[in-house]
Amino acid sequence: MKRDELAASLTARFGDRILGVDAFPGLLGRVRFDSTIALELFRAFRDDLKFVHLTMVGATDWVDHREVFYVLWSDADLVYVLLSTNLPPDAPTIASAVPIWPSANAHEREAWDLVGVRFEGHPDLRRIFMPEGYAYHPLLRSFKIHEPEDLEVKVRSD
């Protein structure tokens, strides 16, 4: 499968909800889509295009928007494809891919923990790395890291 064929078939199916199919080095392409068609697009990729492996789910904070990307692998074509969508920074919410690929569970928990993207329909959307109740999403650009001062630690252990 070529990138042009993929673009043609996707556009034929989803119309202008597919914002573009860009070139990406080493991959089949980078499909930019509107976040409202997430579940249908995922299902199309898994069932029709045979992208059965979900390799990676991640998110990037671009300050004015947040990008969520999915990397899929097709056993038939031996190729990766990257799906990417932009979410508004004040309400970054997208449908969860867990019903399509169960392996999205841990990836989405990680994306929620670090970048603060909410996944609607996720069965167990808790923080995975930071402790429960942590106030920040550390991979946001507004979260600065710094040299620790000589801090006074008061630890209460029960």
């Binding site: 402790p131 979260f143 890291i145 620790p148 630690v153 630890v155």
Partner: protein
């Protein structure tokens, strides 16, 4: 009998608290003119702590003698059981030190899995805030006398992750540390050297 004993406390005065008696140094209590104990205010419940205190201070003096103490010191420093706990990269070198090439058991260092049976906590890796209170719990579960070694740069001062948001910059913020081992990660030789230095420290400082 009552003539021998100084007058019982007046109604207005608060009775002498036995805790204060126990707190007084022994030589003061035993001096003439100073009442040893006030019999009339003494009940068994208060006598036991006082007697315990007197006895233990006596034993402590004895233990500081020349005979027992060096033997126990020798025993303590030659048999350090570290806790079998791997935190991060240094844990791999920690394990390698028990491998065939370095064999830390030569020095009597045998890792145990239960903190109750350990007397050495080797913090071998990065300590995050999420695990900090568990580290303290483990340290508190170890019975006295106990020691701690900060192995590697992360445990000493945060190492390459010092600026990270989730990392404790130095485990000495959480527990008292006796020996720091530099290196990222330290080689097994360094770890053994740290343990031998701790033995030297115990020899000089006492348990």
């Amino acid at each position: 009998m009552s003539g021998q004993v100084p007058a019982a406390p007046k109604a207005g005065n608060p009775p002498a608290a036995p805790a204060q008696i126990a707190d007084m140094p022994l030589e003061v209590i035993g001096q003439p003119g100073v009442p040893f104990v006030e019999i009339e205010t003494l009940r068994a419940r208060e006598f036991i702590p006082a007697a315990k205190e007197a006895l233990s201070s006596l034993l402590k003096e004895q233990a500081e003698g020349k005979l027992i103490r060096p033997v126990f010191n020798w025993a303590g420093r030659n048999s350090l059981f570290p806790l079998h706990w791997g935190l991060a990269c240094c844990a791999i070198e920690f394990a390698a030190a028990f491998g065939a090439r370095w064999d830390a058991e030569r020095f009597g260092v045998v890792p145990r899995s239960s903190p109750r049976q350990c007397d050495l906590l080797i913090v071998n890796g990065t300590v995050t805030w999420k695990v900090a209170h568990k580290l303290i719990t483990l340290y508190e579960q170890m019975p006295e006398p106990k020691w701690a070694i900060a192995m590697g740069n992360c445990a000493t001062g945060g190492g390459p992750f010092r600026t990270a948001y989730s990392v404790v910059p130095g485990v000495d913020k959480l527990i008292p540390v006796d020996v720091y081992i530099a290196g990222c990660p330290p080689r097994p030789e360094n770890m053994l050297d740290g343990i031998l230095r701790l033995e030297q420290l115990i020899k000089e400082r006492g348990a």
